[in-house]
Amino acid sequence: MIDITIAQSILAVVSCKPDRVGNGAVPVFLAQSIEEVQKLGATLGQILDGMVHELEPETIIVVRHS
């Protein structure tokens, strides 16, 4: 089995400030509130086995470090 892992790059962005995130190559998830940002971040972090970092309270990113 070939095991390919994407690591050390941003896997997803979650934000409730649509004007702060552009259209890049990374999936962006828009949320309604900071609470929802946290909820989406937790789910994405678990699915992607990635670490969730906070850029600002309204925007978080999911990164896989290894």
């Binding site: 946290q38 971040g41 972090g45 678990q46 670490m51 969730v52 970092h53 906070e54 978080i60």
Partner: protein, 312 residues
């Protein structure tokens, strides 16, 4: 029975040399086989592998003396062959451990694995050396008890050579205070990481313990900077006290970061058992990895002394 014993007492010198040599070598290996939770492997089959190889090594060392004294100089090539074999075993050990490392929640890291493999190989050479000297002593003193005395001395020497240094000998270890600045986690004044999820922050606050490792000399600053050494600390603490994490919980990660100004190490550990005394003890008993040791002060000393002699 008595007849058998009498017969045994009349064995020739070389046979005694081999017997006592093998026994001393094997005893050395038994003594060096100190298994604890940090070492691989800790299970019965691991013992069998190590002891069998130790017995073979002991045999080689013991037989070499009579063979050489009989002017059978090809015997030395067998020692070379043994060295080759033990190196092969080291490769095997390294490969196995590297594969197993992927399954660990907190991996050992390549440096630690290399260190263990190196010790494994080195101990076999110690066994060869010990049985060689013992067997030589029997031949020189012309009596089996000469070998017993030499054997005991060698076992003592090997037990002294066995122990490497521990982290507590090169650094001062104390508890630190975990604190948050927004999403950033600090232990005392050392920045550890950015944690995005509130849930993770709460859990780290609940289960995490901060440790500060302060190097005691300029040399230990460099040793603590080594990534392999840091990984070894995290692994050992997690192996000793359990770890509060799982896959899919990437936010709960034990981490060690360095304060650039003074080389202090800030560590976040997430033990299953939150006993602070045990944590300090576990960190203190992490072996100093051979691959992490650098001695800039020694080098400087050499450079200075060669300057004085005009060798620069």
């Amino acid at each position: 029975m008595i007849k058998g014993l009498m017969h045994l007492m009349h064995l020739d010198l070389y046979t005694w040399a081999v017997i006592i040599g093998v026994l001393a070598g094997f005893a050395t290996r038994m003594l060096l086989l100190r298994t604890d939770y940090r070492q691989y492997p800790t299970y019965p089959h691991g013992h069998v592998i190590h002891l069998s190889l130790g017995l073979i090594a002991a045999g080689m060392g013991a037989v070499a003396v009579p063979a050489l004294l009989d002017r059978n100089y090809t015997a030395i090539t067998f020692l070379a062959l043994a060295a080759q074999q033990f190196r092969e075993v080291r490769n095997m050990e390294r490969e196995t451990m590297s594969k197993l490392d992927h399954m660990e929640l907190v991996p050992r890291g390549a440096s630690y694995i290399e260190g263990i493999a190196m010790v494994f190989e080195g101990r076999n050479y110690l066994v060869i050396f010990s049985s060689f000297i013992t067997s030589l002593a029997v031949v020189i003193i012309h009596h089996w008890y000469g070998g017993v005395i030499a054997g005991l001395v060698m076992i003592f020497v090997a037990s002294r050579l066995r122990t490497g240094r521990f982290l507590r000998e090169i650094a001062e270890i104390r508890l630190g205070t975990l604190r948050w600045e927004g999403a950033n986690l600090f232990v005392d004044d050392i920045h550890l990481m950015n944690v995005g999820l509130k849930k993770d922050r709460e859990r780290i606050g609940q289960h995490g313990v901060g440790v500060v490792v302060q190097p005691l000399s300029a040399d230990s600053v460099i040793t603590l900077a080594n990534m392999g050494q840091r990984q070894a600390i995290l692994h050992d603490v997690s192996a000793t006290l359990g770890v509060y994490r799982d896959t899919g919980e990437a936010g709960l990660v034990p981490i060690a970061k360095r304060k650039l100004e003074d080389g202090r190490l800030g560590i976040l550990v997430l033990p299953q058992e939150k006993d602070e005394h045990k944590i300090i003890d576990a960190v203190g008993r992490v072996p100093v990895l051979e691959s992490a040791v650098r001695m800039p002060t020694e080098t400087l000393h050499h450079i200075n002394s060669s300057d004085r002699r005009g060798w620069s």
